[in-house]
Structure formats: C-alpha cells, structure tokens
Amino acid sequence: MIIGGTRIRLEARLTSPRWLVVVVPVFSVLFALVVGGVFLLFTGHPPIRTYRDLLDNGYTSFYGLTDTLGLATPLICTGLAAAFAFRMNLYNIGQEGQLYLGMVGGAWAGIALAPHLNQFIAVPVVLVAGALFGAFWVLVPALLRARMGTSEIVSTLLLNYVALNLINYFIYGSRGFFRDPTTPFPQGRLIDESARFDSFGTTNTYPTLIISILLAVFLFWFVRRSNYGYETSVFADSPQAARYAGMNSIWLTTSVLLISGALAGLGGAMYVVGPAGKVDPGLLQTGLGYAGIVVAALARYNFVAVIITAVLFAGLRVGGSALQASSDPVPIAIAVVLQGAVLLFALGGEIFRRNRVVVTRVVQTAKVEA
C-alpha cells in the first residue's frame, strides 16, 4: 500500500514480542468500546455513563462481581473445552450441545443416584456424570473424524440442534423422567439436595468456581508437561511426524474431542449443582457454548488466560442485564455487541503479532517495460 510517497508494508516477524500478547487484547477491548459507543450515541444513550454503569454492575460492585463469577463458572468450562480441541486443530463447535447434555447427565445422576449416596460424593458423582454425558455427545463426531476424516465442524454443530430439541422434548414435549411431576407447569424435576452446592453467602457464586479455576490451571500444566500434551502438540503441528513417531492418531483425535466434550459437559453439570438444580431450558438462552469458543479464541487457547476472558465476557453479560433494568434502559444486547466486536478486533490484531509494520519512503524508480 502506498500513501503519499510512503510505502506501508507488512513484514513477517520471526518472533513476536511478549508485550503484544497483552497489547492486542487491550486495544481490542478499547476499539470495541468505541464501536459500542457509536451505537449508544446513535440511540441516545450517553456512552461514558453507560460504560460506567456497565463496569459497576458487572465488575466493581460486590454483587455485580459475584454474579459475574457465578456466570463465568460454566463459561470457563466451555472455554477450556474449545481451547483444548482448537489447539489441536480440531474444531469442536458443539460445546452448546455438550453443555446441555452435561446438564441432562448431571440431573440424571442427581435424581437417580444422589439419594443413595453419601453427601460428600454426591456432588462429584453429578459432575462426573455431566462430563461423561458431554463426552458421549461428541463421541460420534469424534469417531467419524478419527476413522473417516469427516469434518467435525459440521457434525458437532448439527448435534447442538439435536441436543436443543432433546431438552425441549424432556421438559415441554413429554412427561418423562426429567420433568417435575408435582406441577402441570413444564419445568425440570429437582435433584436431591445432597447433590447441590450452596452458594457463597447471599451471592450467586458457587464453589464450582474453584473447580473451574483449578481445572484451568491443571490443564495449563498438564498440556505443557505431560506426554499426552506433548503428543497433541506434535500431532497439531504435523500429523506425519506424529505417525512417524508411532503415535496413534485415531486415539489422539478421539480422546482430545472426548475430553473437550467432557469439559463442556462438566460446565452443564456445574449449572445443575449450582443455580439450577434441574434440567432448566433457561440454559438454552445463555449461549454459553458458543461464547466458550469466543472466550477461548480471545485467550489464544491458553487455559489460564481463559479464566480472564471468561470473567470479562461474563461481566459484560451481567452488567448488560443490569443496564436493561435501570431507569434509562439500555438494551442488554449492547453487551453482546461488545463481545462480538472485541473478538473481531482481536482477530484483526493478530496480524500485528505475526507481522511488523514497516514504513518506508518510496524511491521513485522508472519502470521499464519491454
């Protein structure tokens, strides 16, 4: 590109400096706020005040922050699920469906198993059941991908809608196991009390948050230090090298997708153990599964960074709903606009991580054509 005698050129970087890892996301957020501000101005909402309210309601007030952390809890799980698969170039975009199935699995264990269990293991059993159901939901796409090379993008996406209809069937379309038998109003049957966590005090944060954070830290360590993590890195970089070294590509592909599904399923079970206590179609409206992909992408598939981006996104959502309820109601959708814009800018910002902008004066050269 040549502007006014100056040539602007992108040059590939050999190494990307560390400070860019921070600068790109920060500027993405700032630019997104500017874009959101433009829309706010056009609709007659003062941007600065709106953003101050958003900050206050989502992050800096006590109940705002604890609501945010509560929402971030399953979002960290779906974020980890996406990061785990994406870093191996396996595009599992079925976190949404796996999350629902986790909710189903958790509710099943909470209703059917928990009454017979010691209360100390009831919660773990529910969480494990959710993870297993989540993994189950990705089993078919995983096997198809590993054995036949079928695109997991489309197959996992398709199953999201099957899962969605399944939940609707359980609650609205049938009077089966998951539906509350005590009322004609369509809602889920509550799980056993022993399988539920109490929230911290009067907040909406549950102890499952600690599990999510520990899990993120564990995965961070595990992928860097374990043989399994090493093998996935080799496979992601060069499947031929993995084959050469005698690694089992079918096992790696299948297991990575199953673990990814289990992580998303765990998020669904956490929702059951924590706020919901049942199969709750309200989860279908939250979009936590797709948001997990966004959170993971923004964290550049770094597990610990997922914690931060998940809290950022959850705060936008929480702050957004508070705005809607205020005296000058700003649509909650502004939070979603900001989320989308942050990611779009972050994607665009990647170019600066890979390339250096070189500005040079153009020396006039005569072009000779033969």
Binding site: Y230, R243, Y244
Partner: protein, 520 residues
Amino acid sequence: MNASSEATQGSHRENGATPSALSAQNVTKRFPGVIANQHVNFDVARGEVHTLLGENGAGKSTLASILSGLYRPDEGSVLRNGKEVRLSSPRSGLSHGIAMVHQHFRLVDRFTVAENVVLGSKGLSFVLQPKDIEAKVSEISEKFGLPLDPRAVVGELSAGQRQRVEIVKALYHGAEVLLLDEPTALLAPPEVVKLFETVRVMTSAGKSVVFVSHKLGEVVDISDRITVMRDGQVTGSVKRGEANAGQLAELMVGREITLAPRRGTLDPGDVLLSVSQIHLSHDQSQNRPNQPNILSDINLKVCSGEILGIAGVSGNGQRDLAEVISGLRQPNQGEITVCGLPIVGLGARATRQAGLAYVPEDRLGTGLAPSLSMVDNLLLTRDRGFLVDRKSAFIEAEGFIKKLEIKTPGPLTPTRKLSGGNAQKVLLARELFSSVASRVLVVCSPTRGLDVGAVEAVHALLDDARKNGKAILLISEDLDEVMTLADRVLVLYRGSIVLEAQGIADDLERVGQAMAGLAS
C-alpha cells in the same frame, strides 16, 4: 564460465541468423545464503531439445523458473526471439509463449481433463462450450501423440496421464517453449518412451523443449544439446553425438565418480536387520485393481558395520520399503527381524525399541515437527513416560549443537527456522545418538537438497556410524551417493530387487541399466 552463447546449430534450425527462441543472458539469482545461479548463459532454439543437466541443488530448477517467469533474475536478462522480455509471473511467461511443466502437477483433481486444460484461459467465452473445448483438447492431444480422454476426471488418472494433461494444457495456452522439470521422475519406463515420442512431435512442429533432469542416462538420446550445471554455474555444453556419459558425469559432479568412495573398514559382523519375502499390495480402498504389488518378494540382510545401499528411480517402492521396515506399515506377508526380534505387526514404537532408528526422506514435516523446538524434537522418538523430561533433552540438544556444529540461535528455536543441512543434522543426531540405543539405521535420501558442505557432513556421520558397528540401510535416488557410501548395493525396480552389486564403480553401468529396468 564455459558459456554457450554463440549460437549452436539446432537440428531443425532453418537458418543460422534466426535468434534463439528463448535465452538467458548472464543471469544471476541469489537466495538467502546461496547463489542459485551465477552468470548463467543458456539458450534454446526453435525446434530444439536442450537439456539442462545437473545434480539436485545445481541451480537448474532455479534457471528454469527464471525462464518461465516464476522468479525474476537479480542480474542479467531473459530474451525471447532475441528481444528482452520482463517476465513478472508464470502468466506473463505464458503470454510470451513460455510454459513450465512442474514436477509436482498443478491440476484440480476434481475437474475433468478438459476443464483443467482450459482453466484460466483468457480466450474462453463467458459461457463455456464443453463440446468445443473437448474437441479442441482432443485435437491437441491427438496432434502431439498425447492420448487422453477429455472427459476423464483428473483425480483418477495415473502420473503419466496427468503429465500429459499438463503438457496439453501448456500447448492449449499457446506455449512455444516448454520447460519440463524432471519430467521422468514419476514415470514408468513405457511412459518415458511415450513422453520422448511426444517431445519429438513437438519439436518437429517447431516448438522448443527445455528438459530439466539429473538423470544422465536417459537424456543423451532425447537431447539435441546438453548443458551441464553445477553449483549454480554452467560447467559445459555438448551437442548431440558428442555426448559421452563419462564426460557428462564429470561435468555434473566435478570429480570422477569412482574417486574417494567411503568404505567400511571392518569386516561385517552379525546380521542386525533381516528382511525376508516381504510383499506389500495396494490399499483396497484405493479401488485400483490389477495393479502390481508395491513391493514383491523383498529379501535383504544388513550386518553390523555395513552400509547396504538401495538404488532406484523415485517411485519404485523405496518409501514403502522404508515404512514397512520401520514398522509404520504392515506388509501383506513376510518377516522382518531387528537385532533378532521379529517386528512385523508390532508397530513403529516396538520396532524402535527393538533397536531400529529411521531417518525419513521428508525431514521437516515427518522426521521433525517443524514448529516445535529442537528440544521437543529430540523427545519425539524417546520413551517419554507420563511427564516429559525437557531438561535432559535441553542438555542433550546443547551437546549436539556443539558436537555437530549445528547453526541455530538455540535449542528452543523452532526447527523450521534451520537450514536444510542443520535440520538434517538434528534429525541424524537424534536417530544416531539419542538415548535409545539403536543398532540399525534406515536412512532415506539423507542429502536431498543439501549443499555440498552439508552433504559431506552427513556422509561423514553415516560413515562414522558404520565404523561404530551400526547396520545401515541407505535408500537413495542419488546413485552417486549410494555408490560412494554403500558396501553392497541392491537395485529396486517396480517394487522388486532386480540386481545385487558390490558397491564398486565397475558396476555403475550395470546398476544404471537395472534402475532403468534393463536388468537381464
């Protein structure tokens, strides 16, 4: 430079005053770290076949790329019919009637032959007329003796047929000068004969052909002129009839091939690798019945302190043989033992544990994971346990860097940033010295694409390994390499061993004939 700038009489030249169809004058091209072409002069006349002969890395492909417009020369010029032309892309080369047929075909597998041929043609009407196109394609293919069904899907064609598609495509786009880059590399002998016939038809129709090859034997018959390159420079040029294989070979390699062969000093010891009656047939899912086996009845033994060379033209089953021996593929029948242990069916890891190390031909991508560091790559073939021990690998990497003079910013630099020679050193270091005590080494084309210094270093490493009692199976398409290093040589042709020779120069001719499928 022994330039051939004065017009040499082509076989079909009408009069001596006609300028060359295409020529390079004093062309220099540099790539980071190498001078690929240095003051090169080259020309081809109308109706002439001019061969550009040289070893891998001699600079002949670079020159062809400059002549076709893929690269621009740093110095010097390209002349078409005596007038200087600036070729900015293959497309602009084509607009001057110059087309290159690459070794790796650039075709759309799902398209029909006709669709591939006309793709990108400016002369096409907006609405395609399949009948007209097919007729035109048929016309060209008949005229030049390139039998093709214009409606066949390219993905289902053999390598030889695909090459015909590429040539027809070039002719369709109006090529007058065709540059064929290693055109026989993927062809079976009857297809080579067919190709040569086509080349003759083309030159008698007034087209010029530049034949880029490193295969000495086959080019003598087809060429009107042969220009030899070595290390980016032209070392000589001979006309038809004057060509003498020995003289050409000397021009190519700059030394008598028989000089300074490295030989094992020890008497061969115990048999460490034994392969008997290996058969490998095509994958059923490929759905290509009636194809001969990829490998049939392979028997060989390699002893401690010995290098056994496998010579052969590319695509005769070398890679498959290496993969079968290293446990990556399972043969349909036969037995393989490594240090006395039968390994068929056990897989790559168990084979490695039995004592076999393997240096694949594709070093960056298969042998090494390109984005991972040297440290991580040293871990690749180790027994790693549950947690990865990078500390010891780091120390090992530092040791290798010092010992083998590997040029790298450090052990944590991704291997794709290393030069080919240094990457190969990393790979060889791992396979020769890394913690697993390997006694058998399978090496495939270890010096392909490396510069002379790196070639020497790699050969010295292999020679040392032999002296240390390893059993080495050297599979290479570079006949010189096999003849210089190996104690014994087997020739692989169409998946069978057709000749066993002692690795001495007297056998060179017999080996060459066997490689060409002329073994008695």
